[in-house]
């Protein structure tokens, strides 16, 4: 068992990375239900797989 702090001691490295975070995307995601967030992940997966297939096909044509 342990207690999790809800506020974390700022880590300078993490704070530096935080400047690059697109908070508008987070705000849009927070408007969605959990189910919708996960459905979006599935849609992204499908897109990534299609893209990979397309790129492999393209590379295959280049090699032949």
């Amino acid at each position: 068992m342990f207690e999790t702090a809800t506020e974390f001691e700022p880590d300078p490295v993490i704070e530096a990375y935080k400047k690059g975070i697109d908070r508008t995307l987070l705000r849009e995601n927070l408007k969605l239900t959990v189910e919708e967030r996960l459905k979006n992940l599935e849609a992204l997966q499908e897109f990534a797989e299609e893209l990979q297939k397309h790129l492999h096909k393209k590379d295959g044509h280049k090699l032949s």
Partner: protein, 168 residues
């Protein structure tokens, strides 16, 4: 190959397995915009639960990810009992089956740090946002820095903004 989250979660839930979703999928459920390809779960290491996990996942031929092919690996209760944390490939995609996580401990330790969310129609335990940050921080992997920054930004957005799905 990306994990078929829906099918893996369904198989685990249908078998009655006790597990907690952590990692990128948990982060996504909390509102992360980052892409993830694999599923990480912490499982209860009781004999009964290990049997349920075996029953749930065996049809999907789990094998040690990155290991040479044709090793005499058996996905059975003895193997799981003798190990702790496993990174598998399965016919449904990559799956990390963890008995313990750095900074978080075992299933039992994490149980009071979970929220129940609907994952593809199944009610599942999901590590809460503060604890997700805690375990990622404890892992100390440079590849996680950006993910931690995003999770902390999410906490800030939730405390200053309005997330209708959770009280975290």
């Amino acid at each position: 190959m990306a994990t078929n989250f829906r099918e893996v979660i369904r198989a685990l839930v249908d078998s009655g397995a006790e597990f907690i979703i952590i990692g990128g999928v948990a982060a996504r459920a909390h509102g992360s915009a980052r892409f993830t390809e694999d599923l990480d779960v912490v499982y209860r290491r009781s004999k009964e639960n290990i049997d349920r996990i075996i029953q749930a996942l065996k049809p999907y031929q789990p094998y040690l990810r990155g290991a040479p092919p044709n090793l005499p690996f058996e996905f059975d209760a003895r193997t799981i009992q003798h190990g702790l944390n496993f990174t598998f490939t399965t016919s449904l995609g990559p799956l990390d089956l963890l008995g313990e996580v750095t900074g978080g401990g075992t299933y039992e330790d994490l149980l009071s740090h979970c929220v129940t969310y609907d994952f593809f129609g199944e009610d599942c335990l999901c590590l809460d946002l503060p604890t997700l940050i805690r375990v990622k921080r404890a892992a100390g992997r440079p590849k996680d820095f950006e993910a931690i920054a995003e999770l902390e930004a999410l906490v800030e957005e939730k405390t200053t903004g309005n997330d209708p799905t959770t009280s975290n």
